[in-house]
């Protein structure tokens, strides 16, 4: 049978596309249900088409407040984790010193630990210190768990960098600051950008660690969590759809910039 033979030949492609469909399906559902007008408090079954939620995305009490809080935390966590992480990566790749192994495992461990363990242990620290749970404890926690991911992303880039480029700059009488700003940083930039983007996504989307260390502060993921019990407003789907579209745009623009760089470098 030719059909069967075709399926056999393209088995991997078919299986891959099915997986892709499985991954995209919830996003499609989120998008479709952002145009729904539910009868009750729960937006789980299709009733009829409506643009209400899109016209009034902030029409739900506290939702946009939690969204802006999440954005603020994500921005500061990204800045903090990226600066600290980039410094660590440079030290690890460029210098030989004692305790390198220990530091490598200290950076690896947060990634090799279930989030709930980190979340609970950090809470015991804050409780013992008598810290007021809220914005600052969330920010501290987010910088902590984003740090390892930034180090991993930046390290990969710095490791593939040719140190001779910096030597050349120094031979051409560039000072250390000049060398760093004009040579080192531009070459490391894609790695740093990738690390920062990852940190932003991780921080913005984190639920488990935030849930433990937020006190009565409500971030956007916590708002969504609460709404699962109280009733999900359609506006949540609007925000979800908008985030998906923005993310796709950011990645596409990033790709275009990278491609243009590659072409102009040739």
């Amino acid at each position: 049978m030719p059909v069967l033979r075709w399926i056999r030949r393209n088995l991997i492609v078919i299986a891959g596309l099915l997986t892709l469909a499985y991954m995209i399906l919830p996003n499609v559902v989120v998008m479709v249900f952002s145009f729904n007008k539910p009868n009750g408090r729960f937006n789980y079954s299709w009733q009829r088409f409506s643009l209400d939620a899109w016209k009034d995305p902030c029409g739900v009490a506290d939702m946009c407040g939690s969204l802006s809080l999440s954005l603020q935390i994500a921005v500061w966590a990204t800045v903090g984790a990226t600066v600290l992480g980039t410094m660590i990566s440079f030290a690890l790749v460029r210098y030989r010193f004692r305790a390198r192994g220990a530091i490598n495992s200290l950076i690896f461990l947060p990634m090799a630990m279930p989030e709930v363990v980190m979340a609970a242990s950090l809470l015991t620290l804050f409780l013992n210190m008598g810290a007021q749970l809220g914005f600052w404890t969330i920010l501290i926690a987010h910088i902590m768990f984003c740090l390892s991911f930034v180090v991993t992303a930046v390290k990969a880039r710095v490791m593939s960098m040719d140190p001779r480029l910096e030597e050349a700059a120094r031979d051409l009488y560039a000072g250390p600051v000049q060398t760093f700003l004009r040579v080192t940083l531009p070459i490391a930039a894609p790695g740093i950008a990738a690390g920062a983007l990852l940190a932003f996504a991780l921080s913005f989307d984190d639920f488990i660690i935030t849930n433990f260390n937020a006190g009565s502060t409500v971030t956007f993921p916590m708002f969504v969590w609460g709404s699962a019990q109280r009733g999900t407003p359609v506006q949540i789907n609007v925000i979800g759809t908008a985030m998906f579209i923005i993310a796709v745009m950011v990645v596409v623009v990033g790709q275009l910039i990278a491609n243009r760089r590659k072409n102009s470098a040739r």
Binding site: L20, F33, I208, V224, M243, A247
Partner: protein, 309 residues
């Protein structure tokens, strides 16, 4: 006779051959490391110490807690909550295997077959990262809803009869069953499997496939003898990145499951934030950490790949 211990010869290291940098320069790496490492020590390592101490405390919220080296807590926690523990490992393990089975073809597709569509597919894999995973998990509630299209199809095909017989679903329901929780876990951690797989597959030289073909290897043999072994680093880090977070997750179990599908993360969360029984919660989370670290160490040793980071 006295044995004089000879001083071992000084190791000739690469550093010695370099000209000795000034003290100020030698301190540079330490200054670079200091803030970040301090952060990790204070907010990652120190909390673990605090948690260890909390787990051997007794007392109550009103009277205060005291370290009494009460190791009984660990035993009690284990005997009370071993079903949740076993369930967590079982669900996380199943989700990891499913992620590998589902993720491998897609990673392979992106690495070798996508051609100019490669970036598009990659974007579709990464973009969900940026849409709140809680919103997407809630979407599964809609997809798997009772009487919904998915349940209808599975019912017509009599799949649900089989899965109900196996205890994965309840008659005519998918939501609030183990199947729904594993489906959610698999979905949520798939990108963590696909990306490392893709990275290691992409590094494989395409000429190796040609060479295998020239040596009369069938595509299946080529895959078994060449492609898969070379993708092992990706398989290892992918399974770890999937299994570790999945074993501690409680979002999927809470949103898509029922009280019969509770995982250990839920228990830790409830004990910590609602019951306020800190010692039990700390002991549970320590046991989870120990189990995961032991499993990970054994797995890494077995698979023989050390270069993970």
């Amino acid at each position: 006779m006295t044995v004089t211990k000879e001083a071992p010869p000084a190791p000739v290291t690469a550093e010695l051959k370099l000209r000795k940098p000034s003290t100020r320069k030698r301190l540079v790496p330490y200054w670079l490391l200091l803030p970040g490492i301090l952060w990790l020590l204070v907010f990652f390592a120190l909390p673990l110490v605090y948690q260890a101490s909390t787990s051997v405390q007794t007392g109550s919220l009103e009277k205060g807690f005291e370290v009494t080296w009460h190791f009984q807590t660990y035993w009690d926690a284990l005997t009370d909550y071993y079903p949740q523990f076993i369930r967590s490992l079982l669900y996380a393990g199943t989700a990891t295997i499913l992620c590998l089975l589902l993720g491998y073809p897609l990673a392979y597709l992106i690495a070798f077959k996508a051609g100019r569509w490669r970036n598009v597919v990659l974007v579709l894999v990464i973009a969900p990262f940026f849409t709140s995973f809680l919103i997407r998990t809630l979407a599964w509630k809609t997809i798997l809803a009772d009487g919904g299209a998915v349940v209808d199809v599975l019912n017509t095909l009599h799949v649900l009869d089989v899965t109900s017989w196996l205890g994965w679903t309840e008659s005519n329901r998918v939501l609030a069953t183990p199947l729904a929780v594993v489906c959610g876990l698999t979905y949520n951690f798939l990108p963590f499997m696909i990306l490392p797989l893709y990275t290691s597959l992409e590094r494989i030289d395409g000429r190796l496939h040609e060479a295998a073909g020239d040596l009369y290897a069938t595509p299946a043999t080529t895959f078994r003898k060449v492609t898969f072994p070379l993708s092992m680093p990706g398989v290892v880090s992918g399974t770890l990145l999937t299994f570790i977070p999945a074993s501690g997750d409680y979002v999927n179990a809470e949103l898509l499951g029922s009280t019969d599908t509770k995982m250990v993360g839920s228990v830790i969360q409830t004990q910590f934030l609602r019951v306020l029984d800190y010692p039990t919660a700390a002991a549970l989370s320590f046991i989870l950490m120990a189990v995961v670290l032991i499993m990970v160490t054994v797995y890494i040793r077995r698979s023989g790949t050390e270069d993970l980071v």
